[in-house]
């Protein structure tokens, strides 16, 4: 029977040995690099179109007017209705009454938006119809309902992570540029190109979001549910190590 084995060995020689192996190898390599990674994400749109351009360039607001540090050093990431209402001066009660008068169910958003309620329309700030509609959406669905906007956070981190913006405030892009090689797997090297802005937001957040008009879709991982831009722990650790910062669990976990 040992002899039988020998024959089989020969057989394998005859049909070219490693070729099938190589074919299989290359095939999956290509798949694994080019195709498969993309299949792990689905695109989810933001609640409505928020344009940074309009607010920054149009209204000349600066980042701090919405994104600022509180006195206790915590960071106010997304603005609250309270903040927005300073400009979008629609009086919720007035609007609600008007809606009631118009005989529309307060939860039937589309109807409300179609009805072009004066109390709302008169206070719209935008010019173009598209922007008007976006603003209308915000006011009808959230502001007058007293609901905060459920923004999708591109940098979403779970409850067990404690991220301190304050601690990272001092990071200087120009400085970091020196170690952009080491950081290449953590920070998109495009960030380091050109004149470095005084804020370092680009390091982790959407690059130049302040110049963005239509927020990009939120790419959600189908397994973990996290954002594609969510920084994985190893990235945090890499940068901490490079900057000589501690990597103990409790540095970032709660």
């Amino acid at each position: 029977m040992g002899q039988k084995v020998m024959e089989e060995r020969k057989a394998s020689k005859r049909c070219g040995g490693v070729l099938p192996f190589i074919i299989g190898f290359l095939a999956t390599c290509v798949l694994g690099w080019a195709v498969l990674p993309g299949l792990f994400y689905v695109e989810v749109e933001q609640p409505f179109k928020f344009s940074h351009t309009i607010h920054v360039e149009g209204q000349g607001m600066d980042c701090e007017s919405c994104h600022f540090f509180r006195d206790d050093g915590s960071y106010a990431g997304f603005p609250t209705n309270e903040g927005c209402a300073e400009c979008h001066a629609v009086d919720p009660e007035e609007a609600m009454e008007a809606i009631a008068e118009a005989g529309i169910d307060a939860n039937d958003y589309d109807a409300i938006m179609k009805a072009e309620i004066g109390a709302i329309e008169d206070n719209l700030a935008s010019e173009s119809d598209e922007n008007k509609q976006a603003e209308r959406e915000y006011i009808v669905k959230y502001l007058i309902q007293g609901k905060e906007v459920p923004w999708l956070n591109y940098q979403y981190q779970p409850d067990n992570v404690y991220f301190s913006h304050k601690a990272h405030e001092g990071l200087d892009i120009a400085e970091l540029a020196e170690m952009k090689k080491e950081l290449s797997s953590v920070v998109d090297s495009a960030v380091f190109e050109g004149e470095a802005p005084e804020q370092n937001c680009n390091l982790c957040h959407l690059k130049d979001i302040d110049k963005n008009d239509t927020p990009p879709a939120f790419q959600q991982n189908i397994l973990s549910g996290y954002s594609k831009m969510t920084m994985k722990m190893w990235k945090c650790e890499r940068c901490h190590a490079l900057k000589g910062q501690p990597n103990a669990c409790y540095t970032c976990h709660k």
Binding site: G24, D72, S74, E148, S224
Partner: protein, 649 residues
């Protein structure tokens, strides 16, 4: 074996190796490891600005000055209020759970008439009719000892021509009956435990349940060199930190105090009171240490020792707990010692027609209440005093379901303390008159109304709503609304006039004689805040703080010294039935040597039949077995001296 199959195998092997050279597998594994952390049914947290909003909590009897912690406007926790002398940073275990109670499913969601939901307007009409019909046969029972809401209720009573304002039995009431009743004093008694050098807690479990507990504990903590002595039938939590525990039966507390007074008088102390000589004669003849020892079992030299310390002290104070007589005796002793007992003036009223606090404390609820219309405000008499309280038509104001709301005809939900404006005026026992204001922290989510607002809708007391009443009160107090709203308390360092105060010699002489029931063993009921009070059941997070000395499983635990257990023929874990008063209780026996032999100690506040799963059916209700005996001489009723029979089951 065919070539095709072999080739296929080789290709698959190649494919497998290949995929391992791409990030796919590894990132996927990483995502999977994150997936194992995502449990859809585990609630996620809310983020935003974190604040501490000062207000008052009325869950414990004296009320706590607290800061409610909120995140993005949502209340989540309670902490102490450093700026308020009532707290100094600490709070009691009940108030610590305030937010959880506020969000509890046992909150009453809307006005209910005999179990059916009705509108506030209908409730208003209904009650107005009932009041009109009842005329002066209206009574109010209030569970709030310190709120101006009482003035509104008493204003309503006045407009009905009734004076039937009842408060739940409390040390404050006993003290007032002794001070303004027997001794003809005015104002309210307070104790400066923080600056006293010797503090004799004569029956006052001051560091656990008596009086302004948190303020007492703060005083205890700040009083570095003061010597605290606890006298009482059991080694309470208070006794575990005082430098000495003097075992004294509850009914013997007055005699014990007079026994000490004897030595103080012998030492030549006196006061310019009209009946001083009579008092002295009474004590010297009737309460010689020998007699007291015979009557109470407290060794004469023990009293001599305490007297010595009190006399040696610069600023001693005796803090009474229990019967009116015990309070009277202690006040007399304090006057003789001239120490850290304070007499605080009462703040001005907001509602002219309302009674003073002292007047509100006059009615004796233990003697029984019966009225055509009975209004119960955040009190639970149908749990603590089921025998005594009757109402043809009962209106219960409360924020959570209790035995009382269950028994009431009309239930009117009040906002939780953190959802309403409220105030807290000089809780009994604090060293100086103190006024704190509570502002609403959260918006009410249920169909509730502040009881005072409802009452103001029934009778014209010259106020639109309770906020106006509070403004008037603040003005009457002479405080600054804004400062109060920021959490600072208004403190008045004046003290009331004590000239013309007598020592109630004639009454005390008789009232101090120990009167004991006929049961086999004396009953020492005690209160632990985490277990609950007469009005407030234990809270969601508190049960795991309740020791096996109070509750095992669903069984109440009563404690007694091994000697007592031996005498009763019971041991650790034996199930017993305690019968006394007009009822009986079931309990497990725990041997605890910190109980006076011949006494069984039982925790109050358990055995609820209505409420959430944290209190309902847990333990048994000791109020059922308390005996109401009348202090004939003092013209008051007391639970002190209750006895029970213990039967093994």
């Amino acid at each position: 074996m065919s070539v095709a199959r072999r080739a296929f195998i080789q290709m698959s092997v190649g494919a497998t190796v290949g995929i391992l050279f791409t990030p796919t597998v590894w990132t996927a594994l990483d995502d999977v490891s994150i997936w194992t952390q995502n449990w859809p049914w585990i609630p996620s947290l809310k983020y935003g600005e974190v604040k501490g909003v000062p207000t008052v909590s009325k869950m414990c009897e004296s009320g706590c000055a607290v800061k409610v912690r909120t995140v993005a406007g949502e209340a989540f926790g309670t902490e102490g209020n450093m700026d308020n002398p009532l707290s100094g940073g600490g709070i009691c275990p009940l108030c610590a759970n305030g937010v959880q109670v506020m969000n509890s499913p046992t909150r009453i969601k809307a006005p209910m008439l005999n179990g059916k939901e009705i509108s506030w307007d209908d409730a208003n009409k209904l009650v107005s009719e009932k009041l009109a019909a009842a005329g002066s046969k209206v009574a109010v029972i209030s569970g709030d000892q310190t709120g101006t809401v009482n003035e509104v209720f008493s204003g309503l009573l006045a407009s009905q021509g009734s004076d039937a304002f009842y408060s739940m039995p409390s040390d404050m009431q006993a003290a007032d009956k002794a001070w303004t009743g027997l001794m003809g004093g005015s104002g309210q008694i307070g104790y400066d435990m923080e600056n006293a050098d010797v503090v004799l807690l004569a029956g006052a479990d001051a560091l656990e349940s008596w009086g302004p507990t948190v303020a007492n504990m703060k005083a205890f903590a700040n009083n570095e060199n003061g010597k605290f002595i606890f006298a009482g039938p059991m080694q309470t939590r208070t006794a575990s930190v005082t430098s000495k525990w003097v075992p004294v039966p509850a009914e013997g507390m007055a005699a014990f105090t007079l026994g000490i007074t004897y030595y103080v008088l012998q030492a030549g102390k006196s006061v310019p009171a009209a009946d001083f000589d009579q008092f002295k004669a009474m004590v010297i003849s009737g309460y010689t240490p020998a007699k007291v020892e015979a009557a109470t079992g407290v060794k004469a030299d023990a009293m001599a020792e305490i007297a010595k310390q009190l006399l040696a002290a610069d600023n001693p104070v005796v803090v009474p707990g229990g019967s009116v007589a015990a309070n009277g005796a202690a006040f007399a002793l304090n006057l003789l010692l001239g120490g850290a007992m304070k007499v605080l003036p009462e703040f001005g009223k907001a509602v002219e027609t309302a009674m003073t606090r002292s007047e509100m404390l006059k009615q004796d609820i233990l003697k029984g209440v019966s009225a055509d219309v009975l209004m119960v405000y955040e009190a639970n008499p149908f749990y603590a005093l089921p025998e005594q309280v009757k109402g043809a038509f009962t209106v219960a104001f409360d924020s959570v379901e209790t035995e009382t709301t269950a028994a009431a005809d009309l239930v009117l939900p009040t906002p939780h303390a953190y959802e309403r404006a409220d105030d807290l005026a000089t809780p009994y026992g604090v060293a100086s008159a103190t006024y704190s204001l509570g502002v609403p922290v959260s918006k009410p989510t249920l169909n509730v109304m502040n009881a005072a607002d409802f009452v103001l809708g029934l009778a014209d007391l010259g106020f639109e709503n309770f906020d106006e009443v509070l403004e008037a009160k603040v003005t009457a107090v002479g405080a600054d609304m804004d400062e109060l709203a920021e959490g600072a308390a208004y403190v008045l360092e004046e003290s009331a006039d004590v000239s013309g105060v007598t020592l109630a010699a004639s009454v005390l002489g008789k009232a101090a004689v120990p009167v004991k029931g006929t049961g086999a063993v004396a009953l020492a009921p005690y209160t632990l805040l985490n277990v609950g009070t007469a009005n407030q059941a234990t809270t969601p997070n508190a049960p795991c703080t309740i020791s096996n000395n109070q509750l095992i499983g669903d069984n109440m635990v009563v404690m007694m010294a091994s000697a007592t257990a031996k005498k009763l023929g019971v041991g650790v874990g034996s199930k017993v039935k305690l019968s006394g008063g007009n009822g009986d209780c079931e309990a497990l026996v725990q041997v605890f040597e910190g109980v006076l032999p011949g006494v069984v100690a039982a925790p109050l506040g358990m055995g609820h039949t209505v409420g959430d799963e944290f209190s309902k059916g847990k333990g048994d209700n000791v109020y059922k077995i308390l005996t109401v005996s009348s202090e004939a001489a003092a013209g008051a009723s007391t639970w002190a001296g209750s006895t029970v029979n213990v039967a093994k089951i």
